[in-house]
């Protein structure tokens, strides 16, 4: 069910873009208008989501404490897994974001001769690592098509990625890795019954969309060639606000561009927002200093207090009459 909906949506996007890309009058809509709108939605939506999360109250620290907390001097603290300082948190976050440390700790429960055994389960971690890093490198590589002159870092990354020197244009390692990884992540949802049970269209759609983006990109680079100089002219035109559409650019480019535009516009409203969310995970990014620093509960409303002093001032005469001792005469 979820797969059919997602697949239908992706195919519909491809079909519409195919028509738009092969109709000269519509090329401007798909090559200029749509990318601008999508990018604006992406930036504004992303900022909105992050600020919205940032406004949530943080009454106290709720890090997952995966080790010994800061305690007496002779008890060794686990400085990264139960950080009490900014540095500890920074290292913890860096490991989480760069190498997905908590995914690495994934375990799998199995019944072996009547006993439950917890074994390591690293495939998801490996697939996720391959997928995210390839995606990042591919995104950075694409900068060569948006700016002139091309930054040295981008050029160097391009060279390293193509270092196998297979064929011309040279095969990129990340192209291969991305397709393998995204296929794995998709099949995992399809084949493992428990995964399939919890998978929704919102899980399949991004995977299929990214698969379609990768496939059209690879087709365009190795099989249905387009004029890259013309493509760069369009993209530089977009980034310098002088949009132009040169003639003779194949429809495959417009399909690729439209799929990317859909991904960008969809991004802020989907689970893909974990790009921003991972930085804001309170169970990772808070130092465990609940008892070292004072954390004021933001929900505290101003309590009306009646101090004893004020009470006595108010009732001193009555108290004296009744013979109750008072502190000040």
């Amino acid at each position: 069910m979820g797969i059919t909906v997602s697949l239908g949506a992706v195919l519909a996007i491809i079909f519409v873009a195919l028509i738009g890309g092969s109709t000269p009058g519509l090329q401007y809509v798909f090559g200029v208008f749509l990318p601008y709108v999508a990018f604006a939605v992406f930036l504004a939506g992303f900022a909105y989501r992050v600020v919205n999360w940032g406004r949530s109250p943080v009454p106290f620290r709720i890090p997952t404490t995966a080790g010994q907390e800061y305690s007496l001097p002779w008890i060794k603290q686990s400085k990264i897994d139960n950080p009490s300082t900014l540095w500890g948190v920074l290292i913890r976050m860096a490991l989480e974001i760069l190498v997905f440390r908590s995914l690495f700790r994934n375990t799998k429960a199995e019944l072996r001769s009547g006993h439950i055994v917890f074994g390591p389960a690293k495939w998801l971690w490996l697939g996720a690592l391959a997928f995210h890093w390839s995606f990042l490198i591919i995104a950075i590589r694409h900068v060569r098509l948006f700016v002139e002159p091309i930054p040295v870092v981008v050029q160097a990354l391009d060279t390293v990625d193509g270092m196998l020197q297979i064929g011309a244009p040279a095969l990129y390692i990340t192209d291969l890795l991305l397709v393998v990884a995204v296929t794995y992540l998709f099949l995992r949802r399809l084949v493992v019954p428990r995964m399939r049970y919890i998978s929704l269209p919102a899980d399949y759609f991004p995977l299929l969309l990214i698969f379609a983006i990768a496939t059209t990109g690879i087709l365009m680079r190795y099989f249905i060639r387009v004029d890259i100089v013309g493509v760069k002219t369009i993209l530089v035109g977009l980034s310098t606000f002088h949009p132009t559409i040169p003639e003779g650019i194949g429809a495959i480019f417009f399909i690729h561009l439209t799929l990317v535009a859909v991904l960008l516009a969809y991004f802020p409203f989907s689970k893909l927002m974990h790009l921003g969310g991972v930085f804001l995970s309170p169970t990772r990014n808070l130092a465990n200093n609940n008892r070292m620093k004072r954390h004021v509960n933001p929900w505290n409303y101003p309590v009306k207090v009646h101090t004893y002093e004020a009470y006595e001032n108010e009732f001193r005469e009555q108290m004296k009459e009744a013979g109750i001792p008072v502190e000040r005469e």
Binding site: V50, V236, S239, G276, P298
Partner: protein, 134 residues
């Protein structure tokens, strides 16, 4: 907002990186390359035609010479018949670069713009090196 300064700085860095192509190119006009075909051999041609038609050459020349390389070195076929039925010697240095002897104003002008750096010239001689007899 809690930890507003940290969150807003992070967000600003992200938005800055995402819009890098926009602000890095502000006020800079980018010229698309114009590969020059003004070489002695091409000037002498009555009809200025490449091995295949222009669109094919623009988009697919790298695949063509890659095929040439494989055909010449693995199958020993050194003659290519193009769409017009003409026979051409399959050679990078003796065919392509014979006509396009202005490598830096032709091949390189596009390649620098597109950010590709073909490694072919690690071994093959550029027209300039050929003339100097290196």
């Amino acid at each position: 907002m809690y930890d507003a300064n940290k969150i807003l700085i992070g967000l600003a860095i992200f938005l800055g990186l995402m819009t890098y192509p926009v602000w890095s190119g502000l006020g800079r006009a980018v010229q698309a390359p114009k590969p020059e075909i003004d070489t002695p051999i091409i000037q002498k041609m009555p009809e200025k035609k490449c091995v295949e038609n222009t669109h094919f050459m623009k988009t697919t020349h790298m695949q063509l010479i890659n095929e040439w390389r494989d055909d010449a070195l693995r199958k020993g076929e050194r003659e290519y018949t193009n769409a017009r039925g003409e026979k051409v010697l399959m050679s990078l240095q003796l065919t392509c670069m014979n006509c396009h002897s202005n490598k830096d104003k032709f091949c390189d002008s596009c390649h620098n713009y597109a950010g590709v750096n073909p490694y072919c010239w690690d071994c093959h001689l550029t027209p300039k090196q050929m003339k100097e007899g290196i």
